[in-house]
């Protein structure tokens, strides 16, 4: 036996690496993306291929500039995951430059400028999304009408045209329309919820047609992550709980002043996606279990308030960023009691 540098104890490791965690999260997005693809067609696929590629490329370039070994860092899959999450949030009509810009903002501005993985206070995918939303509100809210509503989904060529930014060739207005959340905010117009539900084809069983499938898909993936203990229950449960509670309080018995039934909120927009995939990002969430309860509830409440009282139809991105902002305060107030110290 030769003498060599000794490692400190412990000499045993659970063996779940950061990259495995990221890979499990990637795997868990499969049902959500399947539903998105089914409901909104080819555009989803273009986003899914293009945006992560941009994110990884941006990461590689920045690492090169920062003189870090790119390969070791890229292997942690975090840039890939950021890209995939951003792809899930972009509308299926997004042209290529939107995805490129978004992932550039996410990786360079929100992540690497702060020092890379683990040092970023804000969720990179949501920074990218929110910046795009502020800069390009038209492009960013141009959602397609889901399958079975309106005429038809754009075929492959049309979708490719949209992706390549050839809008003159593809009259986009034929395909797009308001989402259920937007409708509820803008067009209730004196009807009760029940009447309104009857009149609009955009509304499905519980929530927006198609959207309920997408949310169901992300819920399924989220349950998988819970089962594999990749994420804790605290954030999703309190986030959805706060959202449902506020929605119930403001449901107002379904009158014309209603902000929509709770199920519309739980299964509408990016609720499930945000609750299981965005707010649970460990880097930008609160640390302790108690802190995560507060953090989840805060984001859930803000989502509802933004949906009900702001001019944005969905508020997940802004709510998460606000939650990120509050993390240092939450962490300070919820620091656990050390064993043996006085209560």
């Amino acid at each position: 036996m030769s003498s060599r540098v000794t490692a400190s104890s412990p000499h045993m490791h659970l063996g779940h690496g950061t990259s495995q965690v990221m890979q499990l999260v990637l795997l868990a997005t499969v049902p959500g993306f399947t539903a998105l693809f089914f409901c909104f067609g080819w555009g989803v696929l273009f986003n899914l291929l293009w945006v992560p590629a941009c994110a990884v490329a941006c990461e590689a370039v920045v690492l090169k500039l920062r003189r870090r070994p790119p390969l070791a860092t890229l292997c942690d899959c975090s840039a890939l995951l950021t890209g995939v999450l951003l792809a899930a949030a972009l509308p299926p009509t997004a042209p290529w430059w939107l995805g490129l810009l978004g992932s550039g903002l996410a990786i360079v501005l929100a992540k690497q400028l702060y020092g890379g993985l683990g040092f970023n206070p804000f969720n990179p995918a949501m920074v990218g999304y929110a910046a795009l939303l502020l800069a390009f509100p038209v492009e960013m809210t141009r959602w397609l009408l889901p399958r079975d509503v309106g005429d038809a989904l754009p075929d492959f060529v049309t979708a490719l045209g949209l992706f390549l930014g050839q809008e003159t060739l593809t009259p986009i207005d034929a395909y797009t329309g308001a989402t259920a959340l937007t409708l509820f905010r803008e067009e209730l117009g004196g009807q009760t919820v029940a009447e309104f539900w009857q009149s609009s084809p955009v509304l499905g069983h519980w929530s927006g047609t198609g959207w309920e499938w997408v949310n169901g898909g992300f819920l399924l993936g989220g349950l998988f992550l819970l089962y594999r203990r990749v994420i804790g229950w605290q954030i999703p449960v309190t986030l959805l709980g706060a959202l449902a509670l506020l929605a119930t309080l403001f449901h107002d018995g379904g009158s014309s002043a209603s902000h929509g039934p709770p199920l519309l909120h739980l299964f509408g927009g990016a609720s499930m996606f945000g609750a299981f995939f965005i707010a649970t990002d460990p880097v930008t969430a609160a640390t302790s279990a108690r802190g995560r309860l507060v953090y989840g509830a805060l984001i859930g409440s803000v989502i509802f308030c933004l949906r009900a009282f702001s001019s944005y139809p969905d508020g997940v991105a802004f709510a998460v960023l606000l939650g990120n902002f509050a993390v240092p305060f939450i962490d300070r107030c919820t620091q656990p009691r050390v064993r043996g110290q006085q209560k």
Partner: protein, 539 residues
């Protein structure tokens, strides 16, 4: 047969790594063949050098006393086997990286002479002093962790504890030495516990054991007849064996980190020590061997062995069929708390409970660390409820005061945090370093404080002296003025009474006296300047 009691509290967090205990429990306790050479440590850390009773070239018998400790806490050391002393000098030991301790090296020779024992004692007719002296003479130190001399620990506990805790929770993977001892020699362990109950005056004995060692539990249950003894079975979870945590789990008393359990009325010992106590008192056997686990995938014949103290690690591993090809490294202790051995020539000591000769496949080295992703898993498992993640940031950036405010010094180095960390950050290593730095900083701070206090006291004394001097000077000046005025007045009176006549002899004498007095006063008034300069006032 007694029914187990249930624990009084739950340990926070903890981990459940794979136990890997079967490998070493397939055979009963065996003896290793007599090693050709024994390196017996005779010095204790932090104690004065022992009084050596042998010199190089002497022939020794098994059990013969080699050295007697000089300090209050020092114990004797004995020859584990007969042979000839070939060397006395400092040797490296497995559990310490910096320097070694004085060891007596013996070239063993088979001997027909019987073991030299001390006379057996009858505890019913011995006072605690005699029993404690016996523990000392038989060289009994804690066989679990730090190797603290048993007689000192027991002495401190006399009259102060009501509970003796037997720490049979071998919570670390791979280690089964205590379990094997409890399966085969449970009676001696319980006798040792009874002896300590007798000496300390404690009223009950709680035996803590984990549910992953059913054979040991069964053996204990069968042997327990005394109502003072209670068995408490804990769910298998690391690190239940840490003393402060075990006391909390078994008694519900939350022990402050760093405070001895004795302050909470509890004395903790592990089964191996109790076994040695019983052998020393009832059979007069000095501590010359101990049961330890030699295991790991690199050994063809892993198991629990009764090993002579001082057996070189390499000899012991070879006797168990070490596979040199597969072997990647050896750990003294388990995989979570153990120390990687630098050289295989080091001897096994009284505190060696396990040598893990492992392979790369069994215990792969950790992957290179990645940045912390703030997942919080480390805080979930920390049994002390620290925030390892925050401690990691603080120790990385050198903010030691913040780390201290987050109770870095309460960390017990258990490694649960590093075990689960997905980024494979060497947290324990960082914490150890930060703790060392913090300790250094504290010492420096103390020294600085002391120096400052001394300086301030000195300044105050000097100022006081100055004030006093000043006051005295004023007083003297005033006195002088008064005297001069008086003298002048008297002189004037003499002149006015006989202005024309020649002065009478009395007047001449009076005038001379006044002059002398005036001179004296003037000298006195000038005196303070002749005092030593202030700076040289005695400190």
């Amino acid at each position: 047969m007694s029914l187990p009691t249930s624990p009084r509290a739950r340990m926070h967090g903890g981990i459940t790594p794979p136990g890997n205990k079967q490998q070493s429990l397939r055979h009963p306790i065996r003896r290793l063949p007599l090693p050709p050479q024994l390196i017996v440590p005779v010095e204790q850390r932090g104690e004065p050098l022992p009084e050596l009773l042998v010199s190089v070239g002497d022939r020794v018998e098994q059990g013969q006393c080699l050295a007697r400790g000089r300090g209050e806490r020092a114990v004797s050391s004995h020859a584990p086997a007969a042979g000839v002393v070939t060397d006395i000098g400092t040797q490296p030991l497995p559990d310490d990286q910096a320097g070694g301790l004085t060891c007596v090296t013996i070239a063993t020779a088979p001997s027909t002479a019987s073991t030299r024992c001390l006379p057996p004692l009858d505890p019913a007719r011995c006072g605690s002093e005699i029993l404690l002296q016996r523990l000392r003479d038989a060289g009994i130190t804690g066989l679990g962790g730090a190797g603290f001399p048993t007689h000192t620990k027991v002495l401190a506990a006399i009259g102060r504890v009501e509970t003796l805790i037997v720490n049979a929770t071998e919570c670390e993977p791979f280690i089964t030495a205590d379990a094997a001892l409890l399966q085969e020699r449970v009676d001696d362990v319980l006798r040792g516990a009874s002896l300590l109950l007798q000496i300390t005056g404690a009223s009950r004995c709680l035996i803590g054991i984990q549910d992953d060692e059913p054979a040991a539990i069964a053996s204990l249950q069968a042997a327990l007849a005394d109502a003072r003894f209670q068995l408490c079975v804990l769910p298998a979870r690391y690190p239940h064996g840490a003393e402060a945590l075990l006391v909390h789990v078994l008694t519900g008393k939350e022990v402050l980190m760093g405070r001895p359990a004795i302050d909470y009325g509890v004395l903790c010992h592990n089964p191996a020590t109790l076994h040695a106590v019983a052998r020393a008192v009832l059979h007069g056997e000095p501590l010359i061997s101990r049961v330890m686990t030699l295991t790991g995938a690199a050994l063809r014949d892993p198991g629990n062995y009764d090993v002579l103290i001082g057996t070189p690690v390499a000899t012991a591993l070879q006797a168990c069929g070490l596979d040199e090809w597969q072997h990647s490294r050896s750990l003294a202790g388990g995989p979570l708390l153990g120390v990687e051995l630098q050289q295989a020539t080091v001897p096994l000591t009284k505190t060696s409970n396990c040598i893990l000769a492992t392979t790369e496949a069994e215990l792969p080295r950790p992957p290179p660390p990645q940045p912390c992703i703030r997942c919080g898993l480390c805080a979930d498992v920390c049994p002390v409820r620290l925030l390892p993640q925050q401690l990691h940031w603080f120790s990385r950036s050198g903010e030691l005061d913040k780390a201290a405010a987050h109770h870095l010094e309460d960390c017990i180095d258990c490694g649960a945090c590093a075990y689960v960390c997905p980024s494979a950050i060497p947290l324990v290593q960082q914490f150890r370093l930060a703790k060392t730095r913090l300790a250094e900083q504290r010492i420096r701070q103390q020294q600085a404080d002391l120096a400052r206090e001394r300086f301030e006291a000195h300044q105050a004394r000097v100022a006081n002296q100055q004030r006093l001097d000043e006051q005295r000077r004023h007083e003297r000046a005033a006195l002088l003025q008064r005297k001069q005025a008086e003298a002048a007045a008297r002189a004037q009176a003499v002149n006015t009474v006989t202005p024309a006549s020649t002065p009478s002899p009395q007047d001449v004498i009076a005038a001379a006296l006044a002059r002398v007095q005036a001179r004296k006063a003037a000298k006195l008034a000038a005196a303070p300047t002749a005092l030593p300069p202030e700076g040289e006032a005695p400190p």
